[in-house]
Amino acid sequence: MNFTLRVWRQDGPTTAGRFEEYPAKNIPDEASFLEMLDIVNEELEKAGKESVQFDHDCREGICGMCSLTINGVPHGPGRGTTCQLYMRKFQDGDVITIEPFRVGAFPILRDLAVNRTALDKVIQAGGFITARTGSAPDANSVPIPKVVADESMDAAACIGCGACAAACPNSSAMLFVSAKAAHLGLLPQGKPESERRTVRMVRTMDDLGFGNCSNYYACEAVCPAGISASFIARLNRQYTSAAAREAVGATTI
């Protein structure tokens, strides 16, 4: 298969970027999107041009490192991550536009690579259960109904790629935050810190420059882990009640 790529090139965090056009020739249709980029990069290097820098690691859809916006859609067509996108999804001769995730809180480092440490900062704000190593009771001492464990797992499946924020017109990371709040808050082990966790993560998200949710559901549409936007509703409920109780002095966050 043959394609024309329009690729975002940017030399560094503070320089201006631009699109450049490269041919992608003789690409096997079994190749993944990133393997197609590997082939193009190898051709670029042979021609003495620096390769396109893009983040990737596990290439099996789980590490969350790959972060390309393809034809305007984070991770491109289909439900998976960029690395799980295969060229058979495209038509021979297609022009494919490749950009980094565009989110204010994810500054571009170079070409298609962005800095997503903001997501780590949200987790630092409260996205954990305090459980000192060695202090845990027997794992079966607290039975957890299967439906609860399953729902928690649905939320825990988030891979932290940030596509939700990249797809959102408000650059909101609410899907990411809500998934973490639900993953931990649904479990009995996560209840004691549940309110504090939610409020702190939401406020940190705001401070980092992510926007708010206004119900576009673009996040859910691009999420490679299939996280449901209903977790955002759950987050809003919990945040509202906790913030109200805080406002009247009924609780301390």
Binding site: P28, H56, Q84, Q124, T133, A139
Partner: protein
Amino acid sequence: MSIDAKIPAGPLDKKWSSYKNTAKIISPANKRKFKIIIVGSGLAGASAAATLGEQGFNVECFCYQDSPRRAHSIAAQGGINAAKNYQNDGDSTFRLFYDTIKGGDFRAREANVYRLAEVSANIIDQCVAQGVPFAREYGGLLANRSFGGAQVSRTFYARGQTGQQLLIGAYQGLEAQVAAGTVKMHSRTEMLDLVLVDGHAKGIIVRDMVTGEIRAHAADTVLLCTGGYGNVFYLSTNAKGCNVTATYRAYKKGAYFANPCYTQIHPTCIPVSGDYQSKLTLMSESLRNDGRVWVPKRKEDCGKAPADIPEDARDYYLERKYPSYGNLAPRDISSRSAKEVCDEGRGVGPGGLGVYLDFGDAIKRLGQNVVAERYGNLFEMYENITGESAYERPMRIFPAVHYTMGGLWVDYNLMSNIPGLHVLGEANFSDHGANRLGASALMQGLADGYFVIPYTIGDYLNTQFGKAKPDVNSAPFQDALAAVKARTSQLLSIKGNRTVDSFHRELGHIMWDNCGMARTKESLTAAIDKIPKLREEFWKNVNVLGKGETLNQSLEKAGRVADFLEFGELLCRDALQRNESCGGHFRSEYQTPDGEALRDDEHYAHVACWKFEGENATPTRLEEPLSYETVKLATRSYK
């Protein structure tokens, strides 16, 4: 030269508890005075960072990814073993210990493995407490499944994403410590050398992968948690960034590299489809719980659609050869059996390099819903990559490089022969012998980080009171810094005609063809002849574009491939010197009449430790004898 593993005295089942009772402890007031460098943030690194930070040490953690949550532990699918005996099926600490020793083909250290089995139960408790959503039964208790090489169900799992959930648990613990100020995280930072001060590991040289700055970090002790070296084969199930640089650089500074030839080929991966391919994708071994492995009995049937091959024309070769373990035979045996049937010309799919993993019976027995609940995400992944639905036709699978049991040599304290250098997780050699059982890598990574190093690190740190703190401006640091800078400039200045990837692919072919699932004296000698030539060409003809002062992925790869080009030779040398077959190391010259691995306990019941002797000099091979006090060496049989 004698190698002292510092195994505590006493009966096997009392060693760890008596060690803990008498271990040297650092008082809370002193902990914050010690700085610990941790390289790598996978299960071993993140759990160590979280726990040591929580204990009050001053921790600095480094990873090459953009976030510690992305380390490749995340990709482990199937599960984690623990001797909980929740299923009341006869499991025990001893049984897990014995299965692991036997699974490792009697080439692991008894005391380390017993400790691993002992702490396995604590790991599950810890993970549940921190919110890992393990699979549960309707009654609310934890569910288990069985895994290769075991006759009990001791594997805990979170759908097909167990590694992800365990890593996120450890990562969250680590981030909590970042927030508490005890851990400082350096993401997108790659270790390029180890610094020794008076023979002790006291720091590292790193490159900031965004700005290109090369700088030194000093500490009281260094923990390498940098994973395995499977990418020396180019194609493997490892992440693209996984590399041997940290451990290989430590080797070049004097740390022994133990058993590099013990590499694991995983039996259930999606077959290779072409030269462009950048990595191989694993299908969890848990699929073998319900999938049946077969190939056609007759070569002529290989081109037919699987549905057109009647039951009596199929060879369920694992069930035939290993009736008691069947499709759950250990990884090395399953992989080798797949290679055998393909060598006989009975492989399926493009190039005849594949076997079927068939869920037809499971779907009939359990219904598609149950199969989907157990393996849905794996079936989706398979369909996405191959365009075929495994609900409708059998999966095609083939073995691929997956895990490396060899690694830096460590003693019972997880310290290498370099004082102050600790090595955890896949990066060390200690627990899996010549073959690792499924669901044991996650167990080992977390055991080392949560439950072993926090107790054993005091043994070294207690000797460091009153010693001058290492200074990054001192000669050892500045010399190492200058060497790393010189090497980086050299890579950028060659400006040859070949890309880094082309060298890596060629090395991978040499390794896979000569040192893969089966090895011979001839193939290994050939590889040892070819690799130095390729290495020489690399240093003359590689083309690394761009600058050192920016994000430059070609430069990152070049440094890693340069180390693989040296390390590959070491791996082949180790394979050549081990004149026996054991676990993942199969030397065709040493096999039983029915094709099983033939060990030579008289001459090879030892750990091979390789000592660096200088550039282009032949390394020295030292031996740590393995003395079995509890287990009787036996022929490993899964029949």
